[in-house]
Amino acid sequence: MHIPDGYLSPQTAVPFIAVMVPIWSTAIKKVKQRLRKKDVPVLSIGAAFSFTIMMFNLPMPGGSSAHAAGAVLLAILLGPWAACLGVSVALIIQALIFGDGGILAIGANCFNMAFIMPMIGYYVYKLVKGSADESSGRALLAAAIAGYIGLNAAALVTALEFGSQYHLFRAADGTPLYFMYPIKVAVGAMMAEHLILAGPVEGLITVLGLRFVASTHPELLSEQKHSKLYGNKEAANHV
């Protein structure tokens, strides 16, 4: 899902960097205001976890590959804005140090995997979980659905971004200037892979991660319950 340089026109890639600037500054502001010092190691581990999980390429029928991203788990644990910062840093390191994803495309890649994915995932989780307990079966089901939908939302937006290039930018001889397949092909290929295989893996990782944190660090989840008990609408350690 890491768009390389050249797949998006500069006219598409640059505006996405511009869109990410206010998103990043909001995320930094929220993290500075609301995250507490004791939660920073969890955010750091979560961001590094997201980095490594993206290295686990899953073989796809037809010879392609795809991967999960871990962004929804981070959003459930610390909130979507904290997840946005953590996954953005992972994506920027992947582009600069490992050449995975473009430099000019960094805005689009962060928009897809560090903004759309944790935001959609977080609110799907809240919606499905409702008022159920953080460690209930319903919460685990909510986490699975949130991971699945979050990753697929990111895949869809990615496919629309590069697929649209085929229709928008042509060379003088009529050949596509950037991405070379129509939007239908891009959406079809991306969604088939993520709906059938990578999405369920993301859902599974989100559930297993949540269960693991619930058993090793119950305080991370109980704080959310605690703040709810005392009428604070948003969880204390959520950003």
Binding site: D5, P41, V89, G102
Partner: protein, 104 residues
């Protein structure tokens, strides 16, 4: 810092060691083909894409490997583990800097 969350760091360590499993999928993800693969994939290389593809060529560990050290699966696996370790140290290190600006 490490002791309080030792189980989470431990899982991260396991992920680093297991990262070469990501090499099982040898195919390139849809829409991530390199210029060298495009000819085969699409039959041509779009002109604008060709111009921009090499925008950043300073990645020290390109494709999560060490240049010239990927002849065997063992070498690729070693490169992958080193890359995972470097990535984790950089990403976690940068995020830990936030403890300087957040409240207690």
């Amino acid at each position: 810092m490490f002791n309080k969350h030792r189980y989470l760091w431990l899982v991260l360590g396991v992920f680093i060691v297991l990262s070469p499993l990501g090499l099982i999928a040898s195919g390139t993800a849809f829409g991530e083909w390199g210029v060298d693969q495009l000819e085969k994939e699409a039959g041509f290389i779009p002109a604008g894409l060709a111009k921009m593809a090499d925008l950043w060529h300073h990645a020290p560990l390109p494709g999560y490997g060490i240049s010239g050290f990927s002849d065997s699966l063992m070498q690729s696996a070693a490169g992958y583990i080193i890359s995972a370790l470097v990535g984790v140290v950089l990403v976690a290190g940068i995020m830990l800097l936030f403890s300087k600006v957040v409240k207690d």
